[in-house]
Point group: C2
């Protein structure tokens, strides 16, 4: 056991909301912003974070209480377990992800409600832990299957991984002397005993324990935990897991060792959590081969297996990645959790390499997956994020606990309800991914209104006011509020799509800045202002010709936002399936959406027309149809006004 | 119990291979050809039927013995059951489908091997039947779950449905005094007691008992069985089945009553078996509303939810139908069993209505789904029949028991192995679907070399020799070998695609015949000949504009055959993804395939190219690429020479 009286090198003694953040590698000088180092103001992300705090956290707690997922812990504590219990075998993990969200929220805002919820939950969880540190409400107790009797589908280590991540959040905010941290430490020690070298050679069917162990080890300065994470990473891909009927070993990435794989495959969330854990291990052990392997997988997957939204996972079947270029809008899956897991991976890659492309993908995923999931009121969520909805969903589907992925309506809760708490923990710590500090350089990766008081290398502060209504507007004003009396660097990410962006430094002339990094390095004076202007003219985007499912279509984007066309916004009597985009017509922005001049022609009634015809374009809406203005809205707001049919990729009229 | 000494009106006393056929409605004068009424010669279907007889039947028996699916019956008989047993809960049904195939084969060819296999199997099955008629090796015995404790997924009634179909085949060939018929009768009586009016209000999660009961009732003239089938049909769609996690009630068609549904939806095989049962009930009870409901569903589904191959079921997820126009080549599922079930439905609709369009769809499905599944040697099968294979499968995948649907290689057996025995029973009785008799009219629905000796209304015979190498050649010569001395009618189906078909009657001038029926009604003389010439020039076929997944592509068909392009036939170094069809170039037939003049251009290496681009056609193979001849082969023969990448729908070059 580690002596906690001597705080480990990487741990923050006593905790500090100022610097608390989800990912803190042992090496490398680059770090994400701390929870209160960068405070969001009212704005796109500030509002989402506020709704999460005031509504979603309590919403998740209520549902888990109502469904008996919390009482599962009570039953273990009182010895009243039985063969059947409420919830799937992984429902404990939702409680832990909520704990993590509550810990970040407490750190971010000091919320006494979040603190009270957190403490009350930990008081119910603690008594369910077994003497030897094992903690799970589905296995290992009276009437239940034995511990680790189903590594393939049992999710026991997966649940513990989320427990460890919750403990990391708590300790980083309030210090490691905490009941949850003690629970987590006993659980982590148990895992090392059970699965360490010379013990059980197993791995968990669902990766997650790896990131949990690595970060918990970082927190406590405990190398055994990192080593255990390393063992799990190295064991994977060697066919250790027993086959599950109808699934291949690729489903849980047990087909190819991590360092040999070329692309992500199988169940998307599993593949991405595994990659995040592999990166933690690679960085902390200096294993460049492993780091390069994950970078290679990222490149191939982002080039060929990722949607325009940043969504990953083409297939409903197995919630999995498709093959290269298998990106049909028809039934894109794009699970919310896979988007979050992709953010976890890209963030680690940014910290390890400093490359802007990782933050570019994060922005795309933040605005078009993470922000798409929660309804504006924070009480309903998308699990899947398809790029096309052929038929409007039904309000009935949104009224209770839903199957996980269907219907085109956000649901309050799911049978498999991984997404709501994943959204909650990510929103509560969002600012930690938006800025980074490296020695005397502050990097703004994502643009959100707020105030940053960044702690530089020697304890000096660079305080910035960020005034912007981005992504509604492309202007980002950065006001210097406090700066040391020496040259420091301010780096701004210019997104890959932002050709023609300009930067005005302290009222000077504008200069064009290329996508990548724009850096200003000098001595700053309080009161000075820099203005970054990102071009938000709507733009058409075309799929690669190898994407069979999108041939002959184009999408419209505006800044980081992918736009979509909802049936709600079509003139009476026009079917979304009949809309054709005129690629020559101007596309112009209005309000928070965009208007594209498109051509709409109601096709002859499709009833009775054969699906396959001897002439091309049989029932193609004729090119001479009337041109009408189409109003596209940001994809992340679709299906909010009413259930709708929706498209991101719109067929381009044949005259184009 | 029915007194079998007085043969029921619809039963053939003593059985008769001459007239034995799978479907024999109580009403209507139209009937399918009997097993030996129409004998296939060497030819497309004759060869498939012969390989099935000599190889596939034994192959299926061997696998089921090897995997312990047969021993399951022994264990019930000897009281050695336990909680675990080999095979899925529905493995009994494969034994029954093999029995059905053996019964047809015995009837068709008189094969003593088939007879011996059949008798030996029945001897093992009989002792497993419980006193009260219940028969299942997975439920209801020591260590097993109780009978009917899992109607949603237990498949008990589904298995019994296949048992009844096997008994129908046996009785129609050798008469109703048979051990299997007795087993089936006791099982059917048990089902009526357990699930009749006033008893358990349940239905089976997987339809099939309905067709089994209806046909067994027809065989024995037992109205209770038809009534029980009617009850099952009427109960469905009212939410009787408990929800299965992550599945909707549409999965097993318990969402909407059969007579109210607009289209088929959910699990494709279930939807189609249910429709077949509903048709049996509708026809035998004179329920025109129910008949019309299924006709409506057929039309909507064939227009909007059916692939060019006749394949049904777009989704791997839930093996289900998609929504209207959801027909992506990416991951089309098109389960072999769904194709067979579609044939079952269309055949019943033809018998009920006499409309040619049902036989048209059957032809499409026969050649492009049924014939695609078995490898030429009859020892490996496709479960799924996708329209596109992005990457060549692996021979390794084909070496043993495979998951059900992946890989692009035919497999000897599957974990869920419904398809091989379904193929076997359908091939063994194929000729019964190829011709029909109605009073003094003989109808040829499918063209295959062979000899028909059709029994007309009064016992007179119209004997025809059919000489053709169709579909390799479009000429079908029909030689009159025996005919009554009075006018009789010969009706020939002119397929929907066969514009320009001609018919020469007894050496007279050719006349053009329109798609639909060509009828010659007169007194025939032995030695006369009619020649039907079907145009087999390859033709391009275009998808409906609403089929998003196929936009900008076309397919090539030749007669009833859908063609495909395999990577195997591409010049060295050309990637299938880079091939573009020149829609203006001539397409000409060669040998048993077709050659299309296509344009091929190797695109710049796709590595590093973004999947979404600011210009259309970024990496589109340039229009100026070299024109090379593409050799397309019939789809049903793909992946036979080696694992390959494959496409049916090929992007059309943008200059077209």
């Amino acid at each position: 056991m580690t002596d906690t009286s001597a705080p480990p090198t990487n741990a923050v003694p006593g905790g500090s909301a100022l610097l608390a953040r989800p990912v803190a590698p042992l090496s490398g000088s680059r770090r994400g912003a701390g929870l209160t180092e960068f405070r969001l103001a009212e704005g796109f992300w500030g509002r989402l974070q506020q709704t999460n705090a005031t509504t979603t956290l309590g919403h998740c707690l209520d549902w888990m209480e109502r469904l008996g997922w919390l009482a599962n812990f009570d039953r273990v504590a009182t010895g009243e377990t039985a063969r059947e219990r409420p919830g799937w075998q992984f429902s404990d993990s939702e409680v832990y992800k909520l704990l993590e969200a509550l810990a970040w929220e407490r750190g971010r805002s000091g919320s006494p409600e979040a603190e009270a919820m957190f403490v009350a939950l930990v008081e119910r969880i603690g008594p369910a832990q077994d003497e030897d540190g094992y903690l799970n409400t589905c296995f290992g107790h009276a009437g239940q299957q034995p511990r680790y009797s189903d590594l393939e589908e049992g999710h026991e280590l997966y649940c513990l991984g989320h427990l460890l991540q919750a403990a990391v959040a708590r300790a980083r905010v309030t210090g490691p002397r905490d009941p949850l941290v003690e629970i987590a430490r006993r659980a982590a020690d148990h895992v090392c005993r059970e699965f360490g070298a010379g013990a059980r050679e197993g791995i968990c069917g669902h990766p997650e324990i790896e990131v949990g162990l690595a970060e918990f080890g970082r927190l406590l300065g405990e190398p055994r935990y990192l080593e255990q994470a390393r063992l799990f990473i190295e064991r994977r891909g060697r066919g250790t897991l027993r086959p599950i009927p109808l699934l291949s070993a690729a489903y849980f990435q047990d087909d190819v060792p991590v360092r040999e794989a070329q692309a992500w495959r199988g169940h998307a969330v599993r593949a991405l959590y595994l990659a995040a854990g592999a990166l933690d291990v690679a960085v902390d052990t200096g294993d460049d081969e492993l780091l390069d392997a994950v970078r290679r997988q990222w490149s191939r997957t982002v080039e060929r297996r990722t949607y325009l939204t940043g969504g990953m996972g083409s297939r409903h079947q197995d919630e999995g990645f498709g093959e290269d270029w298998e990106l049909p809008a028809d039934r894109a899956y794009c699970e919310t959790c896979a988007g979050i897991a992709s953010i976890m991976v890209s963030w680690r890659l940014f910290l390890a390499t400093g490359e802007a492309r990782y933050a570019d993908l994060m922005e795309r995923t933040f605005y078009n997956v993470l922000a798409t999931s929660p309804r504006a009121d924070g009480r309903a969520f998308f699990y899947a994020n398809p790029l096309q909805q052929r038929e409007a969903g039904s309000d009935v589907e949104a009224s209770g606990v839903n199957p996980r992925a269907e219907g085109g309506v956000r649901a309050p809760w799911f049978e498999v309800s991984c997404c709501p708490t994943n959204v909650a923990r990510t929103l509560a710590s969002w600012q930690s991914y938006a800025a980074a500090v490296e020695d005397d350089a502050v990097t703004l990766l994502q643009y959100a209104a707020g105030e940053g008081r960044f702690a530089l290398a020697d304890g000096a502060v660079l305080a910035l006011g960020i005034i912007t209504s981005y992504p509604g507007d492309g202007e980002v004003r950065i006001e210097i509020r406090e700066a040391p009396a020496r040259p420091v660097a301010l780096r701004l990410r210019v997104p890959g799509w932002a050709t023609g962006a300009t930067l005005s430094d302290a009222g000077g002339p504008r200069s064009v800045v290329e996508p990548g990094w724009a850096m200003v390095e000098r001595e700053f004076q309080p009161g000075e202002e820099l203005v970054l202007r990102l071009p938000l003219e709507p733009r058409m985007t075309w799929p690669h010709p190898r994407v069979d499912g999108l041939r002959g279509t184009a999408a419209i984007e505006r800044g980081p936002l992918v736009l979509c066309l909802e049936s709600t916004d079509l003139p009476e009597g026009v079917d979304l399936a009949d809309v054709r985009l005129d690629a020559e017509a101007p596309v112009r922005a209005v309000a928070d959406g965009a208007v594209a001049a498109g051509r709409v022609q109601v096709a002859s009634d499709p009833d009775g027309t054969p699906p396959f015809q001897s002439q091309p374009g049989g029932a193609e809406p004729s090119a001479g149809g009337p041109a009408v203005d189409l109003r596209l809205i940001p994809y992340h707001r679709w299906a909010e006004r009413e259930p709708s049919a929706m498209r991101i990729f719109i067929p381009v009229s044949s005259s184009a």
